[in-house]
Symmetry: C2
Subunit: 261 residues, 2 copies
């Protein structure tokens, strides 16, 4: 007989007493987009022995606001903290829960979950998302029982349950926000060129943009200050450097890029 | 001793067996905004003997997608159907549930709910919203056990639980959408004047807008066709009539008023 791995105490507790601590049937999942030097990634972890990739997610304590649960879960599972999370959508299809995930995970410890266990019920999940500079998160310092990694958004293999759909919906939300809110602070160096800003947009939208249209549109928002300095760029002529106009950037975050009516 | 009202069968069933039919701890609430001739209203119902006004809301069946629950609840409680509902936010503060509402409602029938009954647990609610022409909904034809009414958005007295907050958040979402999506179809007559369109915006934003800026901005979106007809308006000179350019309106619904990048 193969030697069984003993079940860790926290996993046993979650199975047997989780319904005393957590709200039944509802979870949170976090889509953390990371941008750095023209790459858009998403923070994932590899779950259990199945090695399937999944979003960092978890349960809501009975006495915990849903936002707090999202921050806690993200920190507990990936070590990442101090990120502003935004609720974006609830996923509530009846077939989104996959009991076999829990069944298989506990079978590794030789435990068969009873059918009426809380973990096997239908779960609705509340999606939260954020966009940060992934170079500022040092995953090597993170102690997590799962393997945590930044994965290229265009190279996601199939994720656990409906997590691919959750990532897609978060990406759609991010792209919609791009149409009326400013972006770039904390993602670009303090001084940046117009091509660098355009690359940020192109990376998020995953499409090439017309250079002239982009520049005209961005300048019309009034959120950029052009500096007298320029940046020497390889084969091209020197490019002007810009900074964000802090006051106008903050205002646009509130009333939108096109101003109030 | 005062004569007790006998408890209706459905209320008894909800209390005693509701947890067999519905998901625990999660509900849906619908914010239906109605616009007609410069008035913005919200659909409310008066609950139980407390006569407190509340949003039409209810529970999610164990085998029901959350969107379906929102449509069903709206129809069951107000008779209103065939409205496109959009999810906008989840409300999950720990103190948002108010057990006294259920306690008092059942006390009217002389029933004291046990503390561990599912109705008295913490509930998280998923908010859905819509904007329609309220003149097209004939509330007189509706058979509901509750009193259902359109209430002026500026004259809402205190609503049940956190329902005022839910209405406010839905209104914020609507106003944000106004900044980048077209609006007006099905809310204005087929042919309308610029002042009529402006009034729609002013009513939703609850502020006066500058006539020239508004006209310039709206025309720049390219979603309007100006007709050769004019409309005679009282003391003012004749105003041009407009219709929406169906193709461009539909495109703007997808890519936003300012077009794609």
């Amino acid at each position: 007989m193969a030697k069984r791995i003993p079940i860790p105490g926290n996993k046993k507790l979650l199975l047997e007493k989780g319904d005393k601590t957590y709200l039944p049937g509802i979870s949170v999942d976090c889509v953390i987009f990371g941008f750095h030097e023209n790459e858009l990634k998403v923070l994932l972890l590899q779950v259990g022995q199945s090695h399937q990739w999944a979003l960092p997610g978890g349960f809501i304590k009975k006495n915990e606001p849903i936002e707090n649960a999202a921050y806690r879960v993200l920190q507990e599972r990936t070590g990442v903290q101090n990120i502003f999370l935004q609720q974006f959508n609830v996923f509530g299809a009846i077939d989104r829960s996959d009991p076999s995930i829990h069944l298989n995970r506990y079978l590794e410890y030789g435990i068969k979950i009873p059918k009426d266990n809380w973990l096997l019920q239908r779960f609705i999940t509340i999606g939260f998302y954020a966009l940060i500079d992934f170079s500022e998160v040092n995953l090597k310092d993170i102690i997590s029982e799962d393997n945590v990694e930044w994965m290229d958004i265009n190279k996601l293999s199939s994720l656990m349950m409906d997590h691919s759909e959750i990532v897609q919906k978060a990406l759609e939300t991010l792209r919609t926000q791009l149409a009326y809110l400013p972006i770039g602070k904390n993602l670009l160096p303090k001084k940046f060129t117009m091509p660098e800003l355009q690359k940020l947009y192109e990376t998020i939208l995953n499409e090439k943009l017309d250079r002239r249209n982009f520049q005209r549109k961005l300048l019309s928002f009034g959120i950029l200050n052009r500096l007298t300095e320029t940046k020497q760029g390889g084969a091209h002529k020197a490019a002007y450097l810009y900074t964000f106009n802090e006051k106008k950037y903050q205002k646009a975050l509130k009333v939108g890029l096109y101003g109030s009516w």
